[in-house]
């Protein structure tokens, strides 16, 4: 009797402990400590101290010329400054380009194909080396060679970049730099209205000439910014320490930071992440993560003064690979668009999803006002009928998805939906960190799955990178549906030339293009997300929430 009783007790204790451990998730012991230090002020915040930022998903890379996810660029845009950058403000002012390491905005030729910059004098990297004009072409070449997922923004437009990418040229002939004068000239094959926005990507920021052309995520290269990346433990933690030299450069409109250091911890689940911020054990909940619905009522009542939903222009969609069965058949794609229940997905997102069916999101020029081409309500019977007509009933489909919530739940819903309309769908859920590189690899060539896009810059051409046939690439591909439509290509050639300042003049053309894309059902769009700004009690809530890069860590300060 004693044996079984002991076994029973041991198992009950083990169960209780396991539930407890599961409830707590990973132990990321975030804490806040205060020290004082001299330095430049940012938005009048208190100087000094340390804050802990929690992320449910690790950045894809910490090498600035490889990184592309929100989690990565949050850290990079204050650590790696390019020729141009964005004003550190909320809302529309935050989308305004300002000079970064260039001494002024570019001088653009009349045909819109030549950009000239002059480098600021006396700028040094975080390791003390001087910044030279010739570092810029090297940095761009490194970005192309590594390769960065968005390199087609450069290889499609800069003279000689495509040849360099293909290996038929030893440098990018369209970029020249003179170290003596600090002059940098960029020549484009054709005018590209959003090119100044491209230059503001942290991936085009300066790194020293000679920086190895390989992934340096575990030991990021030196850059120019208010902070520098140190103490990297891959997929666990990294730290941003204030760059003491940066304040001395006196670059207008770029904050020099308030906190001495910002420790970023990757946590195992968002429940633990939210609990820690709610209980002031950590300071910042990453806006790239979704707050657990079970904690929302508690957060909205107990932490009202430090929680806010921030809508961001973004597109959440299921890609449908147009080069592979069954989605190479338009009827299959239309059937998916007819069947999808966007309200269901909004509920799964705990109300953090604003439903939509168009690829250009609200808040971006070119978002159509018309009704969804396949209706606002799900039509399961119509979708089943269409699939029968196409002879695709029983077609096998593998749906790719990420582990993180609610993205996994979106894919669970989507897989069930595909099965209901007649496909034979199964799921393949993989780790968040490797998800996009995996589905963007030509060897994977996925049929369908989860994808999202948050604006890199406030221009519809940023979103249409994902529909541009020229951006299909063997690795780090972002055109997951592999759309290569002649009509879209023609329209992009025309619309992409329009300077950002004249976008309103072609708003109706972008709308017409986006309606065409929705009719062709190249993707199944279901909405745009709102993200949480959620801090601990110890941080001031006055910091900037940037429209592109979310929490501006250089404006964080202790109360």
């Amino acid at each position: 009797m004693r044996m079984w009783a002991r076994t029973a007790c041991a198992m009950l204790v083990a169960f209780a402990v396991s539930v407890g451990v599961a409830a707590c998730g990973g132990n990321d012991n975030g804490s806040t400590s205060t020290t004082t230090s001299a330095g430049g002020a940012s938005a009048g915040g208190r100087q000094g101290g340390t804050a802990t930022v929690l992320m449910g998903t690790a950045p894809d890379y910490l090498d600035p010329q490889l990184a592309y996810t929100t989690q990565a660029v949050e850290a990079h845009w204050i650590s790696y400054t390019g020729l141009l950058t964005y004003r550190h403000e909320e809302g529309k002012p935050g989308t305004e380009l300002i000079p970064g390491l260039a001494d002024a905005l570019p001088r653009i030729s009349r045909d819109g194909r030549t950009y000239e910059f002059t480098l600021r004098r006396g700028i040094r990297y975080s390791d003390g080396r001087p910044v030279r004009a010739s570092d810029f072409p090297y940095s761009v070449e490194r970005m192309v060679k590594i390769p960065w997922g968005g390199r087609s923004f450069v290889t499609n437009y800069v003279v000689g970049a495509d040849a360099f990418d293909r290996g038929s040229a030893r440098s990018i002939s369209g970029i020249t730099a003179d170290d003596a004068t600090g002059r940098i000239t960029i020549r484009l094959r054709e005018a590209y209205g959003a090119f100044p926005n491209v230059l503001a990507f942290p991936a085009l920021a300066f790194v020293p000439r000679g920086t190895p052309i390989r992934n340096l995520s575990s030991d990021p290269p030196p850059g120019v910014g208010a902070y520098m990346l140190t103490d990297v433990v891959p997929n666990r933690t990294f730290t941003l320490r204030r760059n003491p030299a940066f304040a001395g450069f006196r670059i207008p409109d770029i904050p020099t930071g308030n906190l001495d250091s910002i420790r970023v911890n990757i946590v195992s689940n968002t429940n633990s992440e939210a609990q820690q911020v709610l209980n002031n054990q950590a300071d910042v909940f990453d806006p790239g993560d979704t707050l657990p619905p079970a904690l929302l009522p508690q957060i909205e009542s107990q932490a009202r003064s430090r929680f806010e939903r921030k809508p961001v222009p973004s597109t959440f969609y299921f890609f449908l690979n147009t080069t592979k069965a069954p989605f190479d058949n338009e009827k299959a794609r239309i059937a998916v668009n007819m069947a999808i229940d966007r309200d269901a997905l909004s509920r799964i997102a705990s109300g953090f999803l604003q439903t939509d069916c168009f690829f250009i999101p609200r808040g971006i020029v070119g978002h159509p006002d018309s009704a969804c081409p396949y209706g606002d309500r799900p039509d399961l019977e119509g979708a089943q009928r269409m699939l029968r007509e196409a002879g695709l009933v029983g077609a096998p489909v593998t749906v790719w998805g990420q582990e993180r919530s609610p993205r996994k739940e979106y894919v669970d819903y989507y897989t069930d939906l595909l099965n209901r309309i007649g496909f034979r769908a199964t799921e393949r859920i993989i780790s968040d960190t490797v998800y996009f590189p995996t589905i963007g690899n030509a060897r994977t060539d996925p049929q369908t799955g989860f994808a999202d896009w948050l604006q890199d810059f406030p221009n519809p051409s940023d979103f249409y990178l994902l529909m541009d046939g020229r951006s299909i690439q063997p690795t780090n591909n972002q055109n997951f549906s592999k759309v290569n439509d002649p009509h879209i290509q023609r329209e992009l050639m025309r619309l992409n030339r329009v300077p950002a300042t004249e976008l309103d003049s072609v708003a109706s053309d972008w709308q017409a293009l986006d309606e065409y894309t929705a009719r062709r059902a190249y993707v199944a769009v279901y909405g745009a997300e709102a993200v949480p700004k959620f801090f601990s009690d110890k941080l001031s809530f006055d910091s900037v929430f940037h429209p592109l890069y979310f929490n501006d860590w250089s404006t964080l300060s202790l109360k």
Binding site: W4, T7, M11, A23, D343, T426
Partner: protein, 371 residues
């Protein structure tokens, strides 16, 4: 049933067994054969006397039956499948219409009716249906994994112990290699990599989302835990006279292993069987919790616990119910397994509770038993 000819009688009849057969010979020369009780029959008697083990065995059997009846429950009571989403649907509970999933993402709790008996998860899937299907998947993986472990471990243990030398050296090092890795880490590594590409061994191909993938992984990682004791036992048995006798009679190695040695390690295998089932179910739950076991959207108790984590503060039933089922199933098979072990290997019982054995008046007989 072949047992060691030197094995003393377990029946108390004074009969001595012969190699290659379990028919008792006469206690007295020229006398009639004594009626005896075989060791397994005796073990069954002991097991039947152990009411606690039987009760827990019955509990496990009930769970197994319930889980294998999952399709009946899904089709005739809940009217939904384990992966059917009902996010925007509503149900009547006590004359009140309720959302299966609220606009803020909170799923409905237990309705105590046919539909959503135990509530729904965040995708509006019926928790009771998923619980039974999840149990079915967990148990299937547990049983298949155990079968793989027992078969391969027996082959490896017999071969290594019987042939010794180079064969033993190679097999023992392979077992050491598997043993050296922590089971969970090895399971995660194999599970994560195989979940993407599946397994292809010659003509046999398994997709990454197949139930057989976690079963094969779990089955393999536990092989050393059974093979090593079997090997040790075989090393001793191969030196016994009845093996020599069989060899002298011209029996080949395969025949000796199958007919003379295997029956003598059978009781050890029987003792291991329920314990390995319990271990396999637990490891499957752990791997599925970590995303390296049963692939979504297919339920298992481990994936259900993992899915429910983010709703613990307001919907603890999503985690508690599959957790409780897991505990009950493993508790049931473990206690039953202890009972089987006590019945087949009374020496262990003697060591643990010799005094109690004395009280029931069987100690003298059982201490003498050798298998």
């Amino acid at each position: 049933m072949a047992i060691d000819p030197a094995t003393p009688d377990t029946t108390g009849s004074g009969a001595i067994r012969t190699a290659g057969g379990d028919r008792p010979v006469a206690a007295e020369p020229g006398g009639p054969p004594a009626a005896g009780i075989g060791p397994y029959r005796l073990a069954r008697r002991r097991l039947l006397r152990n009411k606690v083990a039987l009760a827990f065995g019955a509990l496990f059997a009930v769970i197994v039956i319930l889980c294998f009846c999952a399709p009946l429950y899904a089709d005739h009571v809940a009217h939904t499948g384990p992966n059917d989403n009902h996010v925007t649907e509503q149900v009547q509970v006590g004359g009140e219409t309720k959302d299966v999933v609220s606009p803020t993402g909170l799923p409905i709790g237990p309705t105590w009716h046919g539909r959503f008996l135990l509530g729904a998860d965040q995708n509006g899937r019926d928790l009771a249906v998923r619980l039974l299907y999840g149990g079915r998947n967990s148990l299937e993986v547990g049983f298949i994994a155990t079968a793989i472990t027992m078969v391969l471990a027996t082959i490896v243990g017999l071969t290594a112990g019987y042939f010794r030398g180079v064969v033993d050296g190679v097999l023992a090092r392979i077992l050491d290699l598997i043993w050296a890795y922590p089971v969970v880490l090895l399971g995660i590594a194999l599970g994560t990599s195989l979940a993407l590409g599946g397994i292809t061994i010659g003509p046999i191909a398994m997709k990454g989302n197949s139930l057989f993938v976690p079963a094969v992984i779990i089955g393999i990682v536990y092989i050393p835990y059974v093979a090593k004791p079997i090997r040790g036992q075989v090393l001793g048995l191969r030196e016994k006279e009845f093996v020599d006798a069989a060899r002298v009679q011209g029996a080949g190695s395969l025949r000796i292993m199958a007919r003379e040695i295997l029956p003598n390690v059978a009781s050890t295998l029987i003792v291991f069987l329920p314990l390995m089932v319990a271990n396999a179910i637990l490891l499957e739950a752990g791997l599925s919790y970590l995303g390296a076991g049963i692939q979504p959207p297919n339920p298992s108790w481990g994936t259900m616990i993992s899915d429910g984590i983010r709703l613990i503060p307001s919907a603890i039933h999503l985690t508690f119910v599959p957790g409780a089922m897991l505990v009950l199933a493993v508790l049931g098979i473990n206690v039953f397994g202890d009972g089987v072990r006590d019945a087949l290997d009374p020496r262990a019982r003697v060591r643990i509770a010799a005094k109690r054995e004395d009280e029931i008046g069987e100690s003298e007989m059982e201490v003498m038993v050798e298998h």
